[in-house]
Symmetry: C3
Subunit: 371 residues, 3 copies
């Protein structure tokens, strides 16, 4: 099969318009009237594409690039072939992102799977739900009693919005999402398959059975939040679960009941945030991090990938490892340990005799090379 593009290439922008948009300085001789309709990596770009270069590592690609235009710094400008219209900027990648946003505005947030306008045939909207003008609802979506949805918001195929839920304006709710017991602000994007607002995981444990702890709180999602595919956010117990303005959450993240997340945080894929955790503003959690319940992560702290945090983290610190500690202590400990184990191993040449046959056993291989 031929391979279509999913985002339409329109009239594009001239190199002159691009230069004006990002305040770039054209290399002498650049063809300012050339039209750019796409974006591409330097090694894949065609004459109608814009590319960028910001690292020495990729400079050789520039010298043979077929790109129509390239954003780069003064340092690399002379490397480009004559056919490339070079635009010089101080931050090529940042400028590239801005041009991309101008060229493909429809890619900025998810759009209707059915290209529906208004409420599609096959959508189930309860008569008591209140939709402002300009709401799009795909087939198979279900909107419950007394739900309220603001203008410009798009509810994708199969999404299920529960009773009394409020969703603000210019939001995009992905396919097969479910949202209950939640209040959602403006310009929020929820990617497909998320589950938001269900019961938190609370029990009074007992040997003969666990007694459910009621959860009557809500989920509050403030403006400009983005939530990745398959992420789950439980509603609060007697408080609310809150996601602060501008926070970005990746795919398959678990957020427990009563969690409070501040503004402009970044939470990477597969993190697990236990109940009643408090995350202050501008925190970054790298991938697969786990936070024990009730810990507090201070403003601007960064937690390294795969860390397990069992205590409060002061503002501005970088923690790492499991149990997580300040700075790179975890990595350093592991490296030092390996060094020691390697050394202590040298005199005891027979201790690997029962290593499994199917293992390359580097320690062993290393010793053999030493002899």
């Amino acid at each position: 099969m031929t391979e279509p593009f999913f985002f339409s290439r329109g009239r594009g922008l001239s190199v002159r318009e691009i230069a004006a948009l990002i305040d770039a300085k054209p290399r002498p001789g650049a063809d300012l009237d050339r039209r750019i309709i796409g974006i591409a990596a330097l090694d894949q770009a065609a004459p109608s594409d814009l590319a960028f270069l910001d690292k020495a590592k990729y400079a050789p690609q520039l010298s043979i690039s077929a790109a129509g235009a390239c954003l780069t710094t003064e340092r690399y400008a002379s490397r480009a072939p004559a056919g490339v219209s070079v635009l010089c900027v101080t931050e090529p990648y940042r400028a590239f992102v801005e041009v991309a946003r101008a060229l493909f505005p429809e890619a900025l947030r998810p759009s209707s799977l059915f290209e529906a306008g208004g409420v599609a045939v096959g959508a189930f909207v309860h008569p008591s739900a209140r939709l402002e003008n300009g709401v799009t609802v795909d087939p198979g979506a279900v909107i419950g009693p007394r739900a309220e949805i603001g203008t410009g918001t798009m509810i994708n195929a199969g999404a299920a919005i529960g009773p009394n839920v409020r969703i603000g304006r210019h939001c995009a709710i992905g396919a097969n999402v479910s949202i209950t017991n939640s209040l959602i602000g403006d310009r929020v994007t929820v990617h497909p398959g998320c589950a938001i607002g269900q019961d938190g995981f609370g029990y009074l444990m007992g040997a003969r059975g666990h007694r459910k702890v009621l959860q009557i709180g809500r989920v509050i999602i403030q403006d400009d939040v983005e939530i990745g595919a398959g992420t789950t956010i439980d509603r609060g117990g007697i408080r609310d679960t809150v996601i602060g303005e501008g926070t970005k959450i990746d795919n398959l993240v678990q957020i427990g009941h009563n969690v409070t997340i501040g503004r402009h945080c970044i939470i990477v894929s597969q993190c697990g945030i236990s109940g009643s955790v408090v995350i202050e503003d501008r925190v970054v959690l790298a991938g697969q991090v786990g936070l024990a319940d009730n810990v507090r992560i201070g403003e601007g702290a960064m937690i390294g990938a795969r860390s397990g945090v069992m205590s409060d983290v002061p503002a501005g610190e970088k923690w790492f490892g499991y149990p997580a500690m300040r700075g790179r202590e975890f990595l350093r400990s592991m490296m030092t340990l390996r060094h020691w184990v390697g050394k202590s191993d040298a005199p005891e040449s027979g201790d690997d005799e029962d290593a499994p046959d199917d293992e390359p056993s580097p320690a062993r291989g290393g010793r053999r090379r030493n002899r």
Copy 2:
């Protein structure tokens, strides 16, 4: 926007009724006729709310609380302002949970997204499916041929129930769940977005392609099980995958084929349970644990958060770490190692010179403490 509550506040209970319900002893002077219609945390409670106090840490909140009534122990009873009707019990939190259940019975399990009664317009029920009276099916739900569903069970919007599946009575199946090849007992709750009964991950591996191993077993879910949002449970290969009575499973857990889980277990979010694992009764797996295939976890064992279990765990033991071992040996090893690494570092004062500038470099900090 104003912020609605999602669970209705009805007539509530009088303080006298609450005292009777949990066998509490009112503080002299308590207003037994006061009506309580909500529950709240001590610092957020209004005069119509019930709160509780069970930890010294929060006692100062009691002295300024506006709660209508408060459950606490004799120890803290005198701290409450005169306006608070104090009820003394030995276990305040447990009593609080019981009152909450009486005040908000509709929050005990998920309800219809569409507030449907019976089979809603827009639900697709195969003519050969057998639904008892009193089954609720939301719009967008699909129930396949010969499926059987018991009275009082609610199938939420977009849930898909496959051929021949049996679901017992008084269950709640969340939005956009899919269930195939499964037999489900009574009073089971499945939260939104779960996938239950699909193929397990089995292949005969080969360099030129992997040969699928057929999976013709089932998923058996016994009574009173709760399954969190986005959790996946694969059907058995030639045996069944079984989840025992009263077991509670959190969000985004993966349960492989042929797994047997006993009764009254607790499995916290993002655990991964490999194929053919056996988990006996009353086991607790904390968050993000991984179990290698074919291991057996003995009755009442507890596995600490983020542990990776590669061998059988005897009954009643607490294991931790990766590879997981008894007790806190893992944490102790890590702490001791850091201590040693800190010490060994002392004489080599120059070895951190090339540490990155943006790192607080705890090792360095450690040296300062040594001087």
Copy 3:
């Protein structure tokens, strides 16, 4: 309730037909005319079932088995009771899998939840979508404008297929899956609840807000790929996200933007693959592995369970641990450390005095408090 089987037992195969199918040598006296209609584990097999034995551990089960037929090696053949028709082969499990595939062809891939033929009532197919003859679409499924779907492909209940998506022939798309911006080959299976083709997680970070990086690439899934339930695959930014032919992916895996995965890889449950990672052919990632962005995993490499890979892995190597390194160095380091910590602890026998009662706590930092 009685417990149905979900896969129909038809006429089955005679022992003679089975022997011919897998080129097995019957034990003298085997009843070659016996009909086998099911498969089962040795300890559960009935006279109409085929079982297998390939490990000494299970040989005692053979001597009391009620199986109608059993595949095993010459070594164990004499252990079977006279009533079992024994078929000798060199690889009993591999042969068993082949017979299972012949007995239950309908279990090879997911089938329609509604047993629909063609496009079911209640499916929403956009008039501009192009479906070849022989496509099955369940109720509640949504197929967007200009999507193309090949013959023999089954779209399950609630699946949502976006505009311009192309899906090849003989694919099975599970319930409540969403697919956008993707090109999918032939014989691809996508299990329930997956989200494929949504935006990658890309931002220009800033203290006052994060600027979205546009993602205009696609997801390309080649022939014979299988993708587990709840897995998320983000589309590329300016390149494509690519999953190579014959690769098998388990449940709840996260695959970031611009990732390239080669052919015939195995990716076990809950792995997280960060943006722009390259995985070459025949790589195996065990469960819960994390790969940092931009790393390259060489052909045929194997990464142990729960490893965190922060650098490139050469072809053919086995890595393990966090940060991951060659061979079993990680496990060996941890074991050696525990040995050392155990030793260093031995002389100070009194340091456990203040350990909490409920912790086995091999030796706390209580030492410090004692001084």
